[in-house]
Each structure stands twice: as C-alpha cells, then as structure tokens.
Symmetry: C2
C-alpha cells in the first residue's frame, strides 16, 4: 500500500511550485519530500539529496573558531585565496594524488559549485566561436543549470557510447571539430558511481591536448572509490586516477563537502594546471581588460567578481583539515567509509524486491558501494519510478534529469538512518507486491 | 619629492601584470600598493580598497562559534537561506528602514557581490530583447565587471545629467523605450558618497513602474549617511531613503561587510519586493524549467546553482547581529562613525594642498563625511592623479574606472591609521610643492 495518496502528492506539488516529482530538480525533490513529511507526520526516507550524513569535521570547526577569534572576519579575503589554504591544498594533492602543483595554482572557491561555475565561465570565453561544453553522462544536473545561467551550449554523451568504437576514436569524433571549449565529468561519477580509470584518463588527456580542449574534472568524492587497496594514505600509492597527471590544460575541483562532511560551510579549492593558468587569450583581454592571462582573469576578473573571495574562517578550517590529513592524524577516508556499508545494505534490500542497479560496472569491474548508486525497476521510466517510490515514502531523483539514457533513479546512501532499514524493507515489500514484475 | 621612483613603479606593474595604475581595477591597485610597500619597506597609505578598518563585530563571531559547535556545518543550507536569518532580516528592515517585508522575501547571499550578480542575471533574463541595465554613475566598477561575465550590455548615466531637464523627464527619456531590464545604483553612492533623496527615489520608482523596469538598490553603506538627525535607532524615524517604499519591482542589497566590519566572512541579504518575487516570466520558465516565477528562479535556478547556499555559520552570525541591533544592544551606526571623523581629517589635509572634492553635494546639500569621498587636482586627469598620488605613497583608484565624467580619484577613509595623518600631511605638502597650481 502507498504511503502518500495521489491527492496528497498533487497538493504538495502545487504548494511547492513543482510540476511533477519526476521532472523536479534535486533541491525541489528535497523540498517536496520534506513538505510531505511535515504535513503528514509520516517519515520519508531521504535518498535524494547528496548531503553528508555525519557531523562536520571537528578539526575544521576548531580551526574556524580560532580564526574567528583571531579577527579574520574583517578584511576581504585575497582574490586568489588565503596563502594558508593555497599551501595546504598544494601539500594535500601531493600527499593524496601524488601531484606536484605549487600553491599559486590552488584557488579557494565557495564550494565546488562556484569552482565549476567559474571554470565554465572562463573556459567558454577564451576563444570566440568555441563556447560549447561536452559533458560525460550521466552527470550532476546542476552543472547544466549553471551553463543555462551563462548561456553556454552543451552536449551530453555517455561513456558507453564513446567506448563503442574505442574510447580514443569516440572522443576524437566528438572533439576533432574543435567546437568545444571544455570536456567535463565527475570521478567517481555522480550519479552512477562509475569511475574513469587511469588508462581512460590518459586517453581523455591525449585527445583533449590534441584538440586544445580544457578538461574540467570534478573530484567531489575524493578517494571515495572504496574498491581495491584503498586510497587516502598520505604519500603512499595507490592514488586515485586524475587527468591532471596527463593533460596540459586542466582544472580539477576539490570539495570539503563530502570528505570532511562540511557541505554547510561552502568551501572547496579549484586547481588549475600551470600551462592553462599562464596561457594568454586575447578574447579574455578584450572582455575583462588586462593581459588576458587565464589564471589571473579567472581569479580577479571572474571569481572575485562573483563572491569577492570566500569566507575567511572556512578557508582556515579547510586548511587545517587538509594539513591534519597530510600529517596522518585525520583519516578522512575512514570517516566516510560507513557510506559504503549503508549502500551495501540498501542495495541488498532493493535487489531482493525486483530492482536492478542501472549502472553496475565500469572498466575496473563492478562499481564500489559508496555515496551514490542507481536503481531501475522493470517497466518503469525514470519519472514514474521517482513518483512511485515517493508515494511509498522513499525520495530519490530521476536519472532522466541527469542526462542518462537509462531508466532509473539516483540514490544517495548518506542520510538513511539506522532504524530506517526496517522501514525500507517494509515499504519495498509493499512496492513489490503492488508492482508485480511479469516473468 | 616622490616616494617611489618611476622605475620602481614600472617594475611593480610588470610584476603584477598591470598595464598602468591609472587603469587598474580596485583589487589590482590594492595588490600593486601592497607589493610596493613590501619591496621597498616604505609604508603606503591605503585609500584604494573599501575594506573595513575595524575588528569584526563580536556578536557575529560568538554566534558563528556557537553555530559551528551546534553542527550547522554539515548539511547544505536551504536554497533560499536559513529561516533564522530570513526572520532576523525581516525584523531588521522593519526596525531600520520602516519597511514591512515578510521573511520569504529575504534571501541570504555570499556577500552583496553575489546578490548583485544574481540580481543582474535574473533581471536581464526575464524578457527577451530586454537585457540591458542602466547604471547611475559614478558607480562601483565591479558591477560592470559582473555584467561582462554575464554578457549584459549596460549604459551609464550621471545623476547630474539626468537632472538637467528634471529628474523625471531625464529618467523617462532613458527608460521609455523599455529596452532596459533594470536600473542600478548604490545609496549612499560608491564612490562619491552622494545620496538620492526620498523625493528622488519616489521619482525613480514612478518611472521604473511605468516602464516595467526593475530597480536594483545597493544599500552596502546602510545608515552611513551621517548627516542630520541620524539613522540607526530601531523603530524610530528618520529612516534612510529607499526605493522599496515606492517601487513595485525592486531588489535591495544589504551587506554585513561595512556596517558590521564583516567583509571577510562574505554575507549579505537581498530583499526582493513581493510583486516582483511572485511575477511569472515565460522566458525564465523556458531557460530554467519550472513555472518561471521570479523569486523561485532566482533562488533555486540561479543563486543555488552558483554557491549552493551560503556558509551556514555566517548566516547565524549575521542573524545575531541583526537581532541585537533590533533590540538596541548593538549600535552599528556608532560603531562605524569613526570613518566620518577620519574622512573629515583627510579632506582637510587634501583641501589645504590644492585638492578639491570632485562630487561635493547632492539634493540635500553638502555630502557627509563617510566611508568614501572623491578628490580632484587641477590639470590632472583621473589616471594621472592615481599614478602621481601612488608615487607619493598614497594609493587610490581612478574615477574614470568608475564611470565618472569628472577627473579624480576615489578615496576610502577606512584604513588610514592614526599615526599616518602626519605622514599624509608631509607627503601632500611634497606633492603640492612638486605640482604647483597656476592661478
């Protein structure tokens, strides 16, 4: 039996200016399910929003409090970030990615959201007639909404499609015309949790370099591919794969939100490859003045003009968390491993009730249990599955909204509570009973 | 005698990628003067950057620390802001502007910088073919750089020019063609410290309403026009003039940076008039999905896609400062009055050495001594005056860069230190001696 009637669902949509749950944004799905819970008193199991499920990291909090007491709150932070964070970030990527990159190239941003927004703006404005962005699908839907603000055209292409005639040939077919300013993806992938392997990223870098395309790599779930030997031991291999090892023109995005459970404080770092940072583009000079140098335009001309730097105390907080991680006294991977355990339990329940994993493997084999996974149900398209699951008290988001060619929903493992696994079992039993699968 | 030689200045420009100090942005002037000071050991008197000169407000700091301890740092803040700040801001505008505006219409932003950026994006995308923004000059140059990111065309017009055939006729001549999406100004004005009076704002509102133009009013220097009876007593007139009392479609921008010396923490609030908030624009629906409702698109479709909300602890900090101000136990106007005293002393020194105030009065008479003022010197254009002053160890920014038709520089009174008035006297004596004014 359904938990929420059609009538209650329709009224909730009206109240929240949502046309249908199946076509709503992530934030709208979160709003809608919170509203349903509040109005009816019936708990919803929240799997829609990728918000951390743990308390914020204490090291960060103590460092922020100390910085506030020291009076950092008064002056505008420097355009390209506080040295303390630039230096910590440089040590951090050395320790956990094995990447040598001087502090200059580390630019604090108000979350990776602003990092991506700034990267899109700068990349798409470098060369006239080369504004488009190629998005590897499925993908984080917000990135496309960012492009809508900036009027940037994009095209989505699934990795499976690219691989059909070999990844290199597939990528080359897309990028050879040099109409794209940049190629964008997240690794691990939001929403599917598939990863691009080191070998695949070598190919991405090669084709991008050959076609003068900027690579934008979102590492929001840094070291959270929990397969194999495990990442996250400072200074020791294996390191997570990253295009920054191979590409000349790259931007990588680091975020404190997931790995330090710090989403509320809005802090991240974007790292710009030295070659790209120092490249000079006449079109940037025309639009922004100055000499058109990519890194200086990105910081002084774009990011600083959007937020005037990012919150000083949070820069101190992230610097402290990065430094303690490098020293080995903060094990951020261990801190978030419970997401994998939760995902494993959730998957087991769903699979037992007729669901399948929409994207279940990548070049390295079956995907890990982590922060996100994807679910399909026989005979249901993405929008219908979102709506049906919500009416059984389970809130997810549509894969259709995330550029996927497959029918299904994204599930986040972060916010389910220990006592809710029983409830999930019960509700999915009802769901399966009401939606028999024809054999 | 000059403090910095031509050679040292030229080298400093080269090192900082600046073509000439006279055409540099505010941030570049700050960088350049800091560099000169560091390289030579000779102190520069910093008047270029509008950064607070006091310690950050303690009420905000304590509230942030408590919020951090309470664990607010983990979850993404709501798209349209934390209720605690929305409610405090609603009480604050009632107490200090006499404006009734429900919490829904108060949207926290990562500083007024993001507020302005979001306002420009939303306003310019409502109606196809109506993208342009009319800027009342002189103006904060960063706003135009924001428009460059978003590819928004603008036109600047000085208030003196608008008044030539009467303000209403002047404004009507500009806005009648309905090509402008919005009209933008700051009050008090950055850089000139002139203010638009209540009568003038009534006219702005009338013409804007008649032509369906959105009014964007930046109140960054809230209650800092220190003339007359004085603003800043909760619930008691006089209130600072604001267009929100008269216009149907308005956005006002409040900032913690100046009034609470909180620039480093990046927090402000934008208030959207109810009529505008609820207005539905098909073009917004086309671009962003949903129903095209202005307020919901601005929050969910635009602001949230740039920073995913703003730093949770700073929202608690600003809420506490607003609440304490409303209760009367925090007198934010008294806290910043010293800027007026500094401006008065600075002006006296400059005027005695041949300078004049570029913009010395508005409709209410002579302008107040406050956070900014403007300076001209006979026979010198804006760029030359910036460069000459810098070579005498005084860092300012060019009025030319701020859309002014007058020759001169902007001076900020916030960062001069007590012991530097003697140094300023000395340097300006040398400046006057080396630049004799022909009578």
């Amino acid at each position: 039996m359904r938990v929420f009637s059609e009538q209650i669902m329709a009224e909730a949509c009206r109240r929240n200016n949502i046309i249908r749950p199946g076509v709503a944004t992530i934030m709208d799905c979160a709003k809608l399910s919170a509203y349903l819970q509040e109005q009816t008193g019936i708990p919803v199991i929240h799997m829609e929003l990728g918000s951390p499920g743990f308390a914020p990291n204490k090291v960060g909090i103590e460092a922020e409090k100390a910085a506030l007491d020291a009076g950092v709150g008064s002056s505008y932070p420097p355009t390209d970030g506080l040295p303390v964070l630039k230096e910590a970030s440089s040590r951090f990527v050395k320790a956990f990615l094995g990447l040598e990159l001087a502090p200059l190239y580390h630019i604090p941003t108000t979350g990776s959201m602003l990092g991506a927004f700034g990267a899109f703006a700068a990349a798409s404005q470098c060369v006239p007639g080369r504004k488009k962005i190629l998005v590897i699908e499925p993908s984080f839907s917000a990135n496309k909404q960012q492009m809508a603000i900036l009027d940037i055209p994009w095209k989505g292409v699934e990795i499976a499609g690219l691989r059909q005639c070999g990844l290199e040939a597939g990528l080359r077919a897309e990028l050879a015309g040099e109409e794209y300013a940049a190629i964008m993806y997240s690794n691990p992938n939001n929403p599917s949790w598939m990863c691009l392997s080191d070998e695949e990223l070598k190919i991405v870098a090669k084709v991008a370099d050959d076609t003068h395309t900027i690579v934008i790599e979102d590492l929001a779930y840094f070291c959270m591919d929990f397969r194999g030997a495990g990442f996250g031991i400072p200074g020791r291999e294996p390191y997570p794969p990253t295009v920054s090892k191979y590409a000349s023109r790259y931007i990588i995005l680091l975020s404190a939100s997931k790995i330090f459970s710090y989403a509320g404080q809005r802090i991240g770092v974007m790292c710009v490859g030295p070659e790209l940072y120092h490249e000079s583009y006449p079109e940037l000079a025309r639009r922004y003045g100055g000499l058109g140098i990519f890194g200086l335009t990105l910081t002084g001309g774009i990011l600083d003009m959007i937020t005037s730097g990012c919150t000083a105390s949070t820069q101190w907080g992230l610097a402290a968390m990065m430094d303690r991680s490098c020293e080995g006294s903060l094990d951020f991977v261990a801190d978030v491993k419970a997401y994998g355990d939760r995902a494993s339990k959730m998957k087991e329940i769903f699979l037992r009730h007729g669901f399948s994993i929409s994207y279940d493997s990548d070049a390295e084999g079956p995907i890990a249990d982590g922060f996100f996974f994807t679910l399909s149900y026989p005979g249901m398209d993405s929008g219908t599955l979102v709506e049906e699951l919500l009416s059984y008290g389970v809130s997810t988001v549509s894969l259709d909204k995330m550029g996927s060619s497959r029918d299904g929903v994204r599930v986040c493992s972060s916010r389910i509570q220990g006592h809710q696994f029983g409830l999930l079992e019960e509700r999915m039993a009802a769901f399966a009973a009401d939606h028999p699968v024809e054999l």
